[in-house]
Symmetry: C2
Subunit: 480 residues, 2 copies
């Protein structure tokens, strides 16, 4: 290890190559909750060329590298492992261009998402990507994990928002396609391979995202419905009547609202409890007729019985109050015992079955546990939490088995938007066949034959004996 | 070659393996205009297992295979080359499922797009993919070429509409992810690699597409504008005022309308001629207020001078009349001399420059030539045609150089939606760097190391001497 670090210092200087006590604690851990691990070195390249030099040298020593962005990932993808060098994109920060005519923004990968959102808004446009970690997460990390978030219903996952990328390959080669065009069928769209690859195939250094007109006249409603199929009917009918208007369609199941209004202390929004409470937002435009159309549409659903009740926000204050239910889960930990948390996708046709199986499965093994379900149901994405008095690792493991077992049974995905990293790796075979996993390995092998980039994330680590022998061999010459 | 055909007949029977006069003329040529070439054999597998058997056997003989769908491609991707076996998906036809709850449709790859559109409509939903060849082209071909078409502005390219795929790899292995969920970050989304790969990486056998609510209350207008930047202003402002409503935004430049109303004989739509004529359609909903809002929005653009003139369709007849301008180009060949045709993307900020350069470049070399420009400008996609009296191959080549030279100069793409195939292969380096092309080759090498699938499409053929030696060597044993 000392050889590779010496070579890095020689090429890039001690300002770029930090070791020991000069590595800040923030680079020891991501938000996945694992025990912090200091990397053997921290690389802080200042531009794409330096990223390339870093990887070229690490590659020549077959030294494993963990790329780091905003460190907000929940699957352990950016969390260092022993013997790894961390490469942080934190100095590659800045908006390079806002092209209003093309409706695109080009930024360096380490730029925080919130900075990109602000730059888009300054041009009276908006960025289609938004998630809770917006102030800390980076656009490069968003792309590397194909981040989801709050606007997927309207603007899609990060993949749909990316038009161009610059990527440094494991051996230091730079691939660049800073495309701004919606249509470009000039050969393989290689950028797709890196979106959602969680830093295992290349390090993203620049991103071109599409920008959109800012939604105007946002109307919000909090609604109660008797069943998941009624929730789906509201979603489909609203979208059919007012295509492209829905921005948000969030659901909270009964137990969620019981905790939010019971232990957590928010006011009961409705007189009755409902199987699901929905938070619904639509962009109705500047015209006051949009506000009326929103209210009339909801009223028509109430008349025909699909929607037992709905409250429409009459002020920004109301709107914040509605969101306080949806965001309360971030603090449920304060009022509930410890528990396990899940980000999964379920085909919409199996969602009711999945929730019923969860309730039964949890009640059968842990009568005192509280199963919480909420999420972006229009995207088939729910978050599950199972809080359990006396929670420990063994219980956590047993809860994992119950939840992922249900996901596998209904043909869901063990990761909707958080990725696989290391923490979900054991469960990946529940959502992917042996052929799919073998194909993923063959892609990894083709792009990163020495397996230096984010080794052991997504795919199991291959036999290390070979790698160890490379590492303990004399240092190869550095090319270039 | 006789060895591989004998092995195929033994495994699959003469009904699946056709040779000589039993190969219909339709399998000798695609729509790219090359001289027809009968393939050495035509394989007509009836299901995924038989596709797998076909490829396993061809792979064991390193025999090149050209996959065929609806044969409507314009880049020569499905056109047989000497010594190839064609594999047509024409028997893999059928809708397997319309899942209204999930909003998805699962179909076999050989299903014509129009059949899929009809099945979606029967469920009161719609398919997001639409193109002129809908009656003949197949969903597998749409995915393999990442087809664009008429609805990209609202529903995106085919890539955005695909949720799941089943693919047979060159060695006969079957990869399957019939995903119905909008969010699924469980490892690499390997399906992305096959979308737009033009049959060079695998043969698509099943497709899951997203379905959408049917747009209602479609309003159409034909407008004249003085400049491209005014056209863009109309697009952006309409989309900002009524997000998600625009379905169609097609542009025809001055020379196009002169041919349409002159040689082709359509009525002049406006008293004056305009730099651009726009065909604009929006889904305004069932409510009669939508019709008013559409008219008022256009009127407001006329008041402030962005839009000199607009005619709104008051009947389906009017609407068909508007479309007759946009579709006239299909028959321009009847009234104009021969010419060259192009499908390219141009960054929106460089579109005016590109058209000006085209006019200058053509006028300078061929004063009697007519440069026609039209297309889906919201997607940065234009089609160019240069008609020239006395057109021949040498002039065609010179026109190619002018047009692709301009595309390269303004940072455009040599293929917007038609793909590369063989016909555009010489121009691919104008839109892709050597590193990008090398990376594409490494992906091709990893997935299809014997280079049996659609050899020579997209990427140049590698040295054939090695391949020939494999082909002339004794037949290897067939596994399984």
């Amino acid at each position: 290890m000392s050889n590779v670090i010496a070579a890095l210092v020689t090429a890039l200087g001690a300002d770029v190559v930090r070791t020991g006590g000069n590595i800040p604690a923030r680079n020891h851990a991501d938000a996945g909750g694992q025990v912090p691990v200091p990397p053997d070195a921290l690389l802080l390249p200042r531009n794409t060329d330096e990223v390339s030099t870093c990887l070229r040298i690490c590659h020549s020593f077959a030294c494993p590298v963990v790329p780091q962005g905003g460190m907000t990932g929940l699957a352990g993808g950016a969390h260092p492992r022993h013997g790894e060098i961390a490469l942080s994109l934190e100095r590659l920060v800045g908006i390079e261009e806002v092209d209003v005519e093309s409706g695109t923004l080009t930024a360096l990968a380490g730029t925080p998402l919130a900075t990109i959102q602000a730059a888009a808004e300054n041009a009276n446009l908006m960025c289609g990507i938004d998630l809770g970690a917006r102030g800390t997460c980076t656009i490069g990390g968003n792309v590397a994990t194909n981040a989801g978030g709050n606007q997927v219903l309207r603007y899609g996952m990060t993949r749909r928002n990316v038009l161009g990328l610059e990527v440094v390959l494991p051996d230091g080669q730079v691939l660049r396609s800073l495309n701004k065009m919606l249509k470009n069928n000039a050969g393989y769209d290689w950028t797709q391979l890196f979106i959602g690859s969680e830093g295992t195939l290349g390090i993203i250094t620049r991103v071109v995202v599409a920008l959109y007109p800012r939604p105007r006249g946002i109307q919000s409603a909090l609604c109660g419905v008797a069943s998941f199929s009624d929730a789906l009917a509201v979603l489909r009918r609203f979208d059919a009547l007012m295509p492209g208007r829905l921005l948000v369609f969030e659901a909270m199941w009964r137990e969620y609202m019981e905790v939010a209004t019971g232990q957590f202390g928010l006011a009961q929004p409705f007189e009755d409890g409902f199987e699901l409470t929905l938070l619904l937002e639509a962009a109705m435009g500047d015209d006051p007729s949009g506000e009326e159309a929103f209210a009339e549409t909801l009223a028509s659903f109430m008349e025909d019985g699909t929607l037992p009740t709905a409250i429409i926000a009459r002020s920004e204050n109301d709107r914040r109050r509605f969101w306080s239910y949806r965001e309360a889960n971030y603090e449920f930990g304060r009022v509930l015992p410890k528990g396990s948390h899940f980000d999964v996708s379920i085909p919409l046709g199996r969602m009711s079955d999945a929730v019923a199986l969860l309730r039964e499965g949890v009640a059968a093994q842990w009568p005192d546990a509280i199963p919480i379900v909420f999420g972006h149901i229009a995207d088939s994405n729910i978050h599950i939490a199972v809080y359990k008095p006396g929670f420990d690792d063994m219980i956590g493991q047993a809860i994992n088995e119950v939840v992922y077992g249900i996901v596998a049974e209904v043909g869901g995905s063990v990761s909707a938007e958080h990725g696989i990293g290391v923490l979900k790796r054991p469960y990946l075979p529940l959502s992917r066949s042996p052929s799919e996993l073998a194909f993923m390995r063959s892609i990894k092998q083709a792009v990163d034959p020495l397996n230096i980039l984010n080794r052991g994330r997504i795919l199991p680590e291959s036999d290390r004996s070979n790698v160890t022998s490379i590492l303990s061999a004399p240092a190869p010459a550095i090319i270039g």
